[in-house]
Symmetry: C2
Subunit: 398 residues, 2 copies
DNA sequence: GTACTAATGATGGTCTCCTATATAACTCTC
DNA sequence: GAGAGTTATATAGGAGACCATCATTAGTAC
């Protein structure tokens, strides 16, 4: 038998577990009293207190002024110090680079975007990434040393080690050790992942698929892709190649939205990247040619989606990516086709996060990574680069 | 936020966790000394001893004679008492009913099978199940009261509550509360699951896919189905309808192996259930008509399989079910078609468990269920219907 | 029969959690 | 504005579970 995860252990391990439970409980809640924490964690009051004191000393938790106007003695309230550390999410697409700076709760502090060109040489793209990150940090009043982790979402097939195997839309992205390159740029952990997968994660953590355990995310735009959340976790597959239903010939996703791009209604002079949008807009206005093109497109879309739904039986299918702006045009025909085939029809919704979904997903991914670090039995128990609280939360002697 | 699983807790919880670690370590190993256990679990010797004493008193562990011929004082050796409890696995197919009795390690003690008829009325089928179970128990020298759990695999769509929604091959299986009916038959926990899924589980626990975390199992025979193991766990989906790629029109699995059944080479008088086998045998002998039929069949098989592989990127695809006997004929064409489409080609192997895979999977499923019970934080901590060891393993005062 | 080896068994100490009780702070009512 | 009522805090005592250490024991090797 292979080595198993020793889940029990020392007394200190028990304390670590309880501390993590407290942190998890505190997170998301705005602020909580000791009694509330004790009840929600199942610990006794004195124990909760001790844990909180320890966490305060380490800078993970801080006290906030008690709520006034309540009966009885006012309860001390504690809050997770989301500003104890910072994360950066990056979205590196063919035509754009986005950066977002966030706290440990995933709250966005600053955001930047700058255009990019698919064919630009590698150095230019890397320089643009560095600039976007620098701008974002400056906006947030932080330096690169404040970052605990950076997560990157990019188009293409990303290997297990942060290596970009290939990307259809960025020629320079071919057998490239992107993780390594960015690792030289940032003095912290760098995670690289496929953009569709990260978008799926964002949608499950804070979008329409919140709290769903099984989600199929359709990343539909100039490029097509999918991201799968299975049992609440991002599914990567054995070789990190999961979600590539694009390659199934029978689904006909491979050439992207050709039906929309090549519709007869598209004017000759229009730049190719705007063609699909034009067709979708015309379909919304009821143009029959455009509607026909949309029907052909959704037919193909439905084949791959049906395969995913039949295999995984997700709770919800989310339509995201650039075309999700046209969800009103795409969803009805997609729904009717799926209903014809699916054994159990899942919910079907458009993304609510829009263009930001990949950066947000990157941030959520980074948070997940940090969480996992803390939970490791042999972890340096809650002691990442955390500096003591700026204002010591101990009893103020005034 | 919904209620989260409190992972820490009491001191007793820590003990529970450590006891479970010890049990997990002990399981699978033939017998282990205290020192070995202490090292493998990470606990200290005295603690390990205390845990072992507790487990012995509860009947989970027993002492075996020390190994002779070693240096130093002989170490006491302990063993997981697999015979402390018993499980039953059932495989209810259209044409057969199988029952297997197993110990807590999943080792099969006795096995029965009896024929069935697809169109038989419900009562007959239930009576046959009861008889199969009784025979099996008698063979093992046990009574129905010795069973801790019964797991059932059957064809058709099985709902989350053990309800059979419908089954294409057993007419009586329609909107039937099978879990409830069998719950009256057996005085213990009864689990109902789709047979393909259980076969997939068996294959990952003890078959060719042992230790793989992501597995696609193809259940190929008179009926077609799939079972998915994702991240080491059986994937059921939100509505327990996962794996039903059969329904995808583009894959053409819906009508089963029509290409093999209707091949021109099949003699007229042959009973329909033997037709496919005849074609496969002819193909093995090189008959061109049969080979052509096999090619058409594997073409279809490859479409659905490719969809699953592209979406999930499994480590291995296992070909199981009745036709896995003809894997030598089916695998080569299937492999070549998959290689053409898949981004990363998974391993592709035939099942090694044969006809027993569903009962074995049912047993493994029952074991998994029991394990899960023990791990629950609020569990009655390791106290299922376990009777004290027949021979008290304490120090014998002679 | 003596030396060596490796496991056993017992003792004391530390850590973490729990229950219970006394104390403190604030609101509401008269 | 004083007392009653309410809710939290703080502290003390006790039990459970783990660990390190050391003397003891039961074998093998020479």
């Amino acid at each position: 038998m292979s080595t198993m995860p020793p889940m029990g252990g020392d007394l200190s391990r028990l304390r670590q577990l309880n501390a993590l439970t407290v942190i998890k409980t505190l997170r998301g809640a705005e602020a909580a009293t000791l009694s509330a924490l004790a009840e929600r964690t199942g610990l006794s009051r004195p124990s909760t207190k001790e844990v909180i004191d320890e966490l305060s000393a380490m800078g993970w938790v801080e006290e906030v002024p008690p709520a006034s106007g309540t009966m009885g003695r006012p309860a001390r309230r504690y809050r997770f110090r989301a500003d104890g550390g910072h994360l950066m999410g990056l979205d590196i697409g063919a035509y754009h680079i986005r950066a977002a700076l966030a706290d440990l709760d995933g709250g966005v502090i600053a955001e930047t975007r700058r255009p990019a060109h698919p064919g630009a040489p590698l150095e230019d793209r890397l320089a643009a990434i560095e600039q976007a990150a620098a701008t974002c940090l400056a906006l947030g009043g932080l330096t690169i040393a404040d970052l605990w982790a950076v997560a990157v979402g990019t188009t293409g097939l990303v290997g297990p080690e942060g290596r970009v195997i290939m990307s259809a839309s960025i020629p320079a992205w071919r057998d490239l050790d992107l993780g390594g390159l960015l690792g030289e740029m940032f003095p912290c952990r760098v995670l690289v992942e496929n953009d569709s997968r990260l978008a799926a994660l964002a949608e499950t953590r804070r979008g329409v698929a919140r709290d769903a355990r099984d989600v199929v995310f359709l990343h539909i735009g100039r490029r097509m892709g999918t991201g799968l959340i299975i049992d609440g976790r991002l599914h990567r597959g054995f070789g990190a190649a999961a979600g590539e239903i694009v390659m199934l010939p029978e689904a006909g996703w491979r050439d992207g939205p050709v039906d929309l791009n090549d519709a007869a209604i598209v004017p000759d002079g229009l730049p190719p990247e705007d063609a699909a949008g034009f067709t979708l807009a015309a379909a919304r206005d009821g143009d029959p040619t455009a509607l026909d093109a949309v029907a052909r497109f959704t037919d193909k879309l439905a084949v791959g989606t049906a395969a995913a739904v039949l295999l995984l039986d997700p709770e919800i299918v989310v339509l995201g990516g650039g075309f999700s702006r046209s969800a009103d045009v795409l969803l009805p025909p997609l729904r009717s086709r799926l209903e014809r085939v699916c054994l159990r029809m899942p919910k079907l919704s458009a993304s609510t996060l829009g263009d930001e979904c990949v950066v947000l997903g990157a941030i959520d991914y980074a948070i997940e990574h940090l969480d996992q670090l803390f939970f490791a039995p042999d972890a340096p128990a809650l002691r990442p680069p955390v500096r003591p609280a700026t204002s010591p939360p101990g009893p103020d002697p005034t």
